[in-house]
Symmetry: D2
Subunit: 382 residues, 4 copies
Amino acid sequence: MENGPTLGVGMVGHAFMGRVHSQAWRNVSAFFDLPVRPVMAALSGLSRERAAAAADSLGWATSESDWRELLKRDDIHIIDICTPGDTHAEIAIAALEAGKHVLCEKPLANSVAEAEAMAEAARDAAPLGIRNMAAFNYRRVPAVAYARSLVAAGRLGEIRHIRAQYLQDWIVDPEHPLVWRLRKDKAGSGALGDIGAHIIDTAQFVSGQSITGVSGLSTTFIPVRPLPDGSGHGEVTVDDAALFLARLDGGAIASFEATRFATGRKNSLRLEINGSLGSLAFDFEAMNELEFHDHTLPGAESGFRRVLVTEADHPYAGAWWPPGHGLGYEHTFTHQIRDFLAAISENRDPAPSFTDGLHVQRVIDAVERSAATESRWTPVAA
Amino acid sequence: MENGPTLGVGMVGHAFMGRVHSQAWRNVSAFFDLPVRPVMAALSGLSRERAAAAADSLGWATSESDWRELLKRDDIHIIDICTPGDTHAEIAIAALEAGKHVLCEKPLANSVAEAEAMAEAARDAAPLGIRNMAAFNYRRVPAVAYARSLVAAGRLGEIRHIRAQYLQDWIVDPEHPLVWRLRKDKAGSGALGDIGAHIIDTAQFVSGQSITGVSGLSTTFIPVRPLPDGSGHGEVTVDDAALFLARLDGGAIASFEATRFATGRKNSLRLEINGSLGSLAFDFEAMNELEFHDHTLPGAESGFRRVLVTEADHPYAGAWWPPGHGLGYEHTFTHQIRDFLAAISENRDPAPSFTDGLHVQRVIDAVERSAATESRWTPVAA
Amino acid sequence: MENGPTLGVGMVGHAFMGRVHSQAWRNVSAFFDLPVRPVMAALSGLSRERAAAAADSLGWATSESDWRELLKRDDIHIIDICTPGDTHAEIAIAALEAGKHVLCEKPLANSVAEAEAMAEAARDAAPLGIRNMAAFNYRRVPAVAYARSLVAAGRLGEIRHIRAQYLQDWIVDPEHPLVWRLRKDKAGSGALGDIGAHIIDTAQFVSGQSITGVSGLSTTFIPVRPLPDGSGHGEVTVDDAALFLARLDGGAIASFEATRFATGRKNSLRLEINGSLGSLAFDFEAMNELEFHDHTLPGAESGFRRVLVTEADHPYAGAWWPPGHGLGYEHTFTHQIRDFLAAISENRDPAPSFTDGLHVQRVIDAVERSAATESRWTPVAA
Amino acid sequence: MENGPTLGVGMVGHAFMGRVHSQAWRNVSAFFDLPVRPVMAALSGLSRERAAAAADSLGWATSESDWRELLKRDDIHIIDICTPGDTHAEIAIAALEAGKHVLCEKPLANSVAEAEAMAEAARDAAPLGIRNMAAFNYRRVPAVAYARSLVAAGRLGEIRHIRAQYLQDWIVDPEHPLVWRLRKDKAGSGALGDIGAHIIDTAQFVSGQSITGVSGLSTTFIPVRPLPDGSGHGEVTVDDAALFLARLDGGAIASFEATRFATGRKNSLRLEINGSLGSLAFDFEAMNELEFHDHTLPGAESGFRRVLVTEADHPYAGAWWPPGHGLGYEHTFTHQIRDFLAAISENRDPAPSFTDGLHVQRVIDAVERSAATESRWTPVAA
């Protein structure tokens, strides 16, 4: 497949994730000077009417009611998958086989087996220049990308501790209905797979280390909830919260926590890393800030400094506004698409790949198996 | 002028402000359900080539090299003025006379006389349904709008104190060149007019009180700087920093400070208000947060609470992402255009109007006159 | 033993803990109106000269070079044990048998067996009116005591999550010598027993729940260090850091972390609790503050509020200074002695008791056993 | 007067200030190794009974019902004045003439004339080795002293901006009685003299610059209050709040604010300084922290760092506890007495002197005169 000056995009799904991906496709070219320009060719959704309305509102030229139609179109070179996890494997594998570059929302799949099949399909397509990317958007927060650059430059020295938490509170109310994210058949996993996947990826990305084993614990505080259609009650089949301890291949030890019951925390993706030469702390609720402690400074004048990650030489930030003029949640997706398009146009593999997404899936699986066997230490396949 | 389902927009200027206004025009319809939809018809700039390139990159259908051409076009119903202050009066008055709705960047003008002429032109056009708006975008930060709603609901009681600061540091380096913002003929004023104008408007908006008199002080720390073209040095003809005390018509006393020499502060628009029943604190560097102290709670459990202004029932926030998923600088402009379009479509005057902008200009003028006469108390015309 | 208007105190040990306990004994009566007044009768230390010098500097009337001498004196009614953990059992048991009230530094002992013997001796002495107390001073931070009162009043509802961390960084440097705290024979345990003991007690105290099982992980990052006397190197025989997951008897799940390798964190005892109706967050590095989120308020105005715990009706605070005039580390010890003396004078048992200290020891022991057996879930005896 | 190994102290007044001074006298020798040791010889108070009870509770050996008795005693070498401002001049001058070293609470006096007389008496006594000190205790917060050392070392470069605020809220309630601090005859001034005096001294101390002129504004929000004895209402004769702008002799411009109506702020003495090379920010409500921005670091990694001022090489801190174990309000007084005793024993003048206190009084006076004459610029005598 040749990459011309424009690349047609077909997006599958137009709920929350579809809206935010659309915003990114619509604006990426106005801020980033890329050799290719995406064309928002078509959106697909299960309902023809709602898909058409969404396409109109979100800026897509056309709409389809079956994602398979997108694969048949010659004007579409990229498939962007924004549907729940149970559909990812089928769509992604078909798209790759149809010669389309694929960007897929996280978690990559609802099981390790599905994720393995996806990663294999991605490996098969790679020699043909077909690219794949798993959508762990938090890597593209400027503060997170800058944190990674500090670690990569050795500014933290040897990393000893990682604390990663993703705290939300949207289902604290027992009357919150049994939405699809609370059903194992649709979502695969609960807090662990939904938001735990993000901190697994982010912690590994920033530290540059890979999780080798875990000890896990999970719970479902509210096991029965009202059905969304008001027809009664149903069982919550996923975890409300999951905690695990981990060791990483670079010698760090870590604790992870994902919960939807941290009252007062709305979208608190927190990461704290301590190394022999310095430390970092981040909270997505203050996403334009990174706290950095440089332990090589004289002790009397050292401390965690609040770096406003909005300078022209910070990752991504220079493309936007002057220092101190912060970005928001959606920008992480614009940066993701920028990096995806840049990789495609430069004929290299984007990161994180499906293989990276598979590894996250393996960590999730190991945590679930450990939690099911008295928190016993469970290795994670490399 | 009839408002159809679409309204053509012509934007004058395509530098920093033009870029951020374009982002707002491009996205407003995807998030806000408005009876009218803006069409990005044309952009004008002094250089034909650069205007054309900017139009292409920013999403404008056509470009012009003279703003007067925009006024002649029937497909353009709105003029959006993003040029330096010395051009505002001429363009705005001509646009109003041509029957175009006008959105004008702040400060409204470079002098009270110009601002008065603009306000008069706006008043003349109003009976014809022609709308005017001064672009004080910080009113549209959700946290600032929410602060206003708390005050309006009486949650602060009688307001006694206002502390308003706008702190930047971009010209601390004496080698920073003598850009147009440092020249009185182009910018009218320095820190006072550029960023001081914002805190004057924001403080009055949130408190609901109007400044009646001031005592001012201003200074230029670095009076000579290199010319941008490298041809030597020139005189800085505006203030580097300005401070003033004020009284407001509701009984509050206030201090204001605008500076470009607050090392380490990048875009710190800070507002703190103390009332008999509560207090508020805001800093744009953490724009998604509002600190609120409710003094009616029992003393032992009260304190400033950090409200993450991202809930569905916060101003503007519900149109975007779930709780805890913050917005950025540019969103304030999207909200501004949303409110401008809503007012036009509902046949009412948007706020802040040119008359409001004139009042800000009068405050600036009073500060400058006070600073020139030993800080003597100087009343501000209502 | 009758409690007269004064009670003689004998303190064992005069290093760091002895200094801070002395400060508390010296000042408690000036701020708290108690029915008994302590008399600083004697201090004992291994070196006669240094004990005498310490007594003079710290305000003790006399000194002894053997703690057994303190037990023989009729003018001494209270023994305050400030020595390393390996000596606690012998001194405490002998003191209780000699009819002295005993305040003992934490961890209560270096092993469960020792702690059991101490708790048994305390139970034997109780019918005679002899009191015992384990010195978990962080319970007496006003913010921590206030946190407990909020939980006890039901303000947090059903507690789901506890995050407890005690982060220090004083041995990050590999050249830091092998001091007694890094030797198992003296200290019993490393970060886990030294500072982990504090967060175990504090988390249980505030939540009102007791740990029933754990999954642990510990590590020694730097296994060999220089000997303090410069005579070569020796092995570190304790943990540098320990992490564990826990379940509590009220249904909460928790993560704990104790480390001396969190670069940039000096004495960061952090506790965060999420309940169905509210949340709390505390960090000893800002010890006069408690963050409280009241989830029963309307969502739009809720958020973590920073309560300055210095009001007259906050625990302990009213005895000191006006609101906003904070306290320091040492005050927690003054409060501890106040509570100890109050309990003695009112003929009731102080809290936490030796039995409470034994439970903490059992948690530590369970963590160590779990860490030694692949993090397997390990129940904690009640 | 010869300074032996001990120095007798006589304290005048035993209300709030007397309590905190007593705590300092009682503990200074246990933490600081000084060539002289203070002996708490006597306390004087208007009521013989209450003075005796206070002496017993606060640790003073004897008590007197007339401060003149203290001057007659040979065993008293130091007079510590803790009474309201209207008595300072008489006591201090008499004490100096009686050959006693004098430590006097702030504000030094209730008028410039009184302060001048005190400074003159101090100058007359100096050749005899009699020392004087004004009790601006906030200089002795470790974070404030460290801030001064950073400025003195040139780390901030040329200082441009000072923002100094002292915010309290204890008289927001209109039913708060008309206590002596609200009466001009006793207190001399309101918020300006009481807490404004502190920020004037602190700002000048840290910046190393002296105020040369001011423009002031003050107000009394609640002019009539209930009398403390319940006998009716009386007029508030002092300011509730005062604001002023200032210029300093080193080129800085500044804003100052003192108020007792900042709802939610309990004892928020805030200082922010911006220089060409760096900035500082401090708030007494978090007294163990100093925020420092080093503008010489690369922009991408710079930001305000939170320095926990508890390291062994921070001012005063090394005498107390390990890093991260904070101090409280009272410690500032212990440090003050340490410095006072050190100066006496080393035969040099302590700082701040009565002359420094006189300068603060002159600033207060200039602010009051400016506020009374339309905020006109008012020079301050050097």
